[in-house]
C-alpha cells in the first residue's frame, strides 16, 4: 500500500516536473554551450531579459509597499469596507490574467476609455513598456499582502503598544518592532511576488503587442522563438526561467525553515499567555 502510493507520487512528479525540467535543459544545450550562450547574448534576448528585470524591478518594490500597507491596515485597524478590501486583494488570483490584460487594453488602448486623451498627449501605454509594467503590478499585487496578513493578525497589538508607551514614534515602532516580527513572511511574499512577476505570460501578452527587442519579456520571447522553430534559443531562454524557479524554491524552503523556527519560538514565548 505504502509503496504503491509512494510509487504513484514519484511517477507523477517525475512525469510532470522532473522530466520537463530535464527536457528544457537538454534541448537548451543540444547544440553545445556556445549555441546556448549565443542565444542568450542575441540582442532581442538581451532586450527581453532587460525588460523582464525592469518590470519585476518596478512591480516588486511597489507591491512590497502596497502589501505591507494593506496587511498593516487590515491586521491592526477596524474600518468600514475592510472585508471589501480583503476581497479586492484576492481579485488578481480569481481573474484570468488574460482578462486583466484586456481590461488594460480597454482602458488605455487606442479605442479604449482614456485612449484618445493619451494619444493626444503622446503617452503610449498599451503595446509599450508602461503597459507591461502595469499588467505585471496588477497580477502580482496579492502576494506580499497575502503572506503578511495572517502573521500580522496573529501577533496582535501588544508589542506595538508597549513600544508606544516606551516613547517610540510610529515609524520607530514599525521598523524596530513590527517589521522584525514579520520579516520572514515578508521575504517569502517578496520571493513569490518576484517569481510571478518574471514568469507572467497572459496579462503581459495581451498588452505587449510582441514587438521584438522592445516589448517582449522573457516568456513572450520564448513563445516567439518556439513558434519560429528556434528550439535551442527558445529552450535556452526557458532555462533562465527554470533556473529562477529552482532558485525560488531553494530560497523559499530556507525562509520557511527559518520562519517555522521563529513561529515555534514565539509559540514557546507565549506559552503561558494567550498568544
Amino acid at each position: 500500500m505504502r509503496w504503491t502510493l509512494t510509487g504513484i507520487a514519484v511517477i507523477f512528479l517525475g512525469a510532470f516536473l522532473f522530466l520537463p525540467l530535464a527536457v528544457v535543459f537538454k534541448t537548451a544545450f543540444e547544440k553545445g554551450m556556445r549555441a546556448y550562450f549565443d542565444a542568450l547574448r542575441e540582442p532581442d534576448a538581451m532586450a527581453a531579459i532587460r525588460l523582464t528585470l525592469l518590470a519585476a524591478g518596478v512591480a516588486v518594490p511597489l507591491n512590497l509597499i502596497f502589501g505591507v500597507a494593506a496587511a498593516w491596515a487590515i491586521g491592526k485597524f477596524e474600518f468600514v469596507g475592510k472585508s471589501l478590501l480583503v476581497t479586492l486583494i484576492d481579485l488578481p488570483f480569481s481573474v484570468s490574467p488574460v482578462v486583466s490584460g484586456l481590461i488594460y487594453v480597454l482602458l488605455f488602448g487606442m479605442q479604449g476609455l482614456w485612449g484618445p486623451w493619451l494619444i493626444a498627449h503622446g503617452i503610449r501605454i498599451i503595446f509599450a513598456v508602461p503597459g507591461i509594467v502595469l499588467a505585471t503590478i496588477f497580477v502580482t499585487f496579492p502576494f506580499v499582502a497575502r503572506e503578511l496578513l495572517p502573521m500580522i493578525q496573529a501577533q496582535g497589538n501588544d508589542e506595538e503598544e508597549a513600544a508606544l508607551t516606551l516613547g517610540a514614534s510610529g515609524w520607530q515602532t514599525f521598523f524596530r518592532v513590527t517589521v522584525p516580527n514579520v520579516k520572514w513572511a515578508l521575504l517569502y511574499g517578496v520571493i513569490l511576488c518576484n517569481a510571478r512577476a518574471m514568469g507572467e505570460f497572459g496579462a503581459v501578452s495581451v498588452v505587449s503587442g510582441h514587438i521584438r527587442g522592445l516589448t517582449n519579456t522573457i516568456p513572450l520571447h520564448i513563445e516567439i522563438l518556439y513558434n519560429d522553430y528556434q528550439f535551442v534559443a527558445a529552450f535556452a531562454a526557458a532555462s533562465l526561467l527554470a533556473l529562477l524557479a529552482l532558485l525560488t524554491l531553494v530560497i523559499k524552503s530556507a525562509v520557511q525553515w527559518q520562519a517555522g523556527r521563529q513561529i515555534a519560538e514565539s509559540a514557546a514565548a507565549g506559552g503561558e499567555g494567550s498568544r
Binding site: 501588544d158 508589542e159 503598544e161 508597549a162 513600544a163 508606544l164 508607551t165 516606551l166 516613547g167 517610540a168 514614534s169 520607530q172 524596530r176 518592532v177 522584525p180 516580527n181 519560538e265 514565539s266 514557546a268 514565548a269 507565549g270 503561558e272 499567555g273 494567550s274 498568544r275
Partner: protein, 344 residues
C-alpha cells in the same frame, strides 16, 4: 505624581465600559483596581496610560489635564498582562529599548544605557540573563523583565494590567511580595488591575472595587473588607452568607417572610453554640466539616433550609466536639444590612 480621573465615560459600540468614573490617587500610592472581568478596570487603566481615549471626562497628572496626550507623551510605565516583550530582542535590548528610541538630543550615551540596564537587571535579579531571549525565560522572569523595561524610561507613574494573572500560584505569591517591596523602595505612583481580591488586599495601599463600569467603593483594604459600602463589594470580597431578613426596632431578623432587607454575614462572624444564648440566634444542622487547615470550615443548613458557611477556630472546634448532622445554635456577631431596593 498624583493621578486624578474625573467623570470618565467610555463605550465600545453599545457596550458602556465606564460610566462616570472618578478617582483620586495621591503621589506615591500603590493603588489597585479590583473587579470581575467586564467591570471596566482594564479600560480605565488603558485610559490613564493613553492607550485608549475617553468619550468624555478628564485625566490629570499632578493637576495638569493630559486627556488629549498620547501614550508616548505621558511618560507612563505600562506592564502588559502577557508581558508583550519584544520577542526578537534579548533581555538587554528589551530593557534598553525605551532609552534607545529617544530623540538624539535627549538620548543617553551607549555607556549610560548599559549602566542603567545593568542596574535594572540587578533590581530584578536577572543579571546573568541579559543575553537571553524572552522565549528562554520563565513566566515570572518575563514579568520582571517587562517591569524593568517599563521602569527604564523613569516613568512618572507605573501601570500594571493583571501583573500576575498568567503565573502559577507560587510564583504569584513571590512576585506579589516583591512588587510591594519594590514599591516601598522606589515610591512611584502605581496602579494595578486585578480580579483577585487577595492580591489587591495584600499588596495595595488603597483599593477601588469596580463593577459594571462604576466604582462601588474606594478605601484601604481594611475598610473595603470590613465595611463594604454595597452588597456587591460584600459579595466580591471574600465568602459571605446572604440572608433575606428584616430590620425592626433596631433589631435585625435574619429570616423573615416579608424580607425587605439583605443581611450579609461573613463565615467567621457566625458563632456556633450548644445552648441558646437568649440573643439573636437560629438553629442549623451541620452537613459537612472540613477541619484541615488553620480554620475549620463548617457547612450547615438553617432551620428554614438555606445552606450557610461558618468558620471557627481549631480551639472552638475541639471545645464544641462538633460532628456531622447535629443541630446547633448559630449566633451572628457582625452583620451588614442593605435595603433590598438598593442596587445589587
Amino acid at each position: 505624581m498624583s493621578i486624578s480621573v474625573r467623570e470618565i465615560r467610555k463605550s465600545f459600540g453599545r457596550f458602556l465600559a465606564l460610566d462616570a468614573v472618578s478617582l483620586e490617587i495621591p503621589d506615591g500610592e500603590l493603588f489597585a483596581l479590583l473587579g470581575p472581568s467586564g467591570s471596566g478596570k482594564t479600560t480605565l487603566l488603558r485610559i490613564i496610560a493613553g492607550l485608549e481615549f475617553p468619550d468624555c471626562g478628564t485625566v490629570e497628572f499632578d493637576g495638569n489635564d493630559i486627556t488629549g496626550r498620547t501614550a508616548r507623551e505621558r511618560r507612563v510605565g505600562f506592564v502588559f498582562q502577557h508581558y508583550a516583550l519584544f520577542r526578537h530582542m534579548t533581555v538587554f535590548e528589551n530593557i534598553a529599548f525605551g532609552l534607545q528610541v529617544r530623540p538624539r538630543p535627549v538620548r543617553p550615551s551607549e555607556g549610560q544605557i548599559r549602566t542603567k540596564v545593568h542596574e535594572l537587571l540587578r533590581l530584578i535579579q536577572l543579571q546573568n540573563q541579559a543575553q537571553r531571549y524572552p522565549s528562554q525565560l520563565s513566566g515570572g522572569q518575563r514579568q520582571r523583565v517587562a517591569l524593568a523595561r517599563a521602569l527604564a524610561v523613569e516613568p512618572s507613574v507605573l501601570l500594571l494590567d493583571e501583573p500576575f494573572g498568567s503565573l502559577d500560584a507560587k510564583v504569584r505569591m513571590e512576585l506579589r511580595r516583591w512588587l510591594r517591596q519594590l514599591h516601598d523602595e522606589i515610591h512611584i505612583t502605581s496602579v494595578f488591575v486585578t480580579h483577585d481580591q487577595d492580591e489587591a488586599l495584600e499588596v495595595a495601599d488603597r483599593v477601588a472595587v469596580m463593577n459594571e463600569g462604576r466604582v462601588e467603593q474606594v478605601g484601604t483594604p481594611d475598610e473595603v473588607y470590613h465595611r463594604p459600602a454595597t452588597p456587591f463589594v460584600y459579595h466580591f470580597l471574600g465568602n459571605v452568607n446572604l440572608f433575606h431578613g428584616r430590620v425592626e426596632g433596631g433589631k435585625t431578623y435574619v429570616h423573615d417572610g416579608s424580607a425587605g432587607h439583605l443581611v450579609f454575614v461573613r463565615p467567621h462572624a457566625l458563632e456556633i453554640a450548644r445552648q441558646p444564648n437568649g440573643a439573636n440566634h437560629f438553629r442549623a444542622t451541620t452537613k459537612h466539616i472540613n477541619a484541615a487547615g488553620p480554620i475549620v470550615k463548617v457547612e450547615a443548613i438553617t432551620e428554614w433550609g438555606e445552606p450557610i458557611r461558618i468558620e471557627i477556630s481549631q480551639g472552638q472546634f475541639r471545645e464544641l466536639r462538633l460532628v456531622k448532622d447535629e443541630v446547633v445554635f448559630v449566633v451572628p456577631k457582625e452583620l451588614a444590612v442593605f435595603r433590598k431596593d438598593e442596587p445589587q
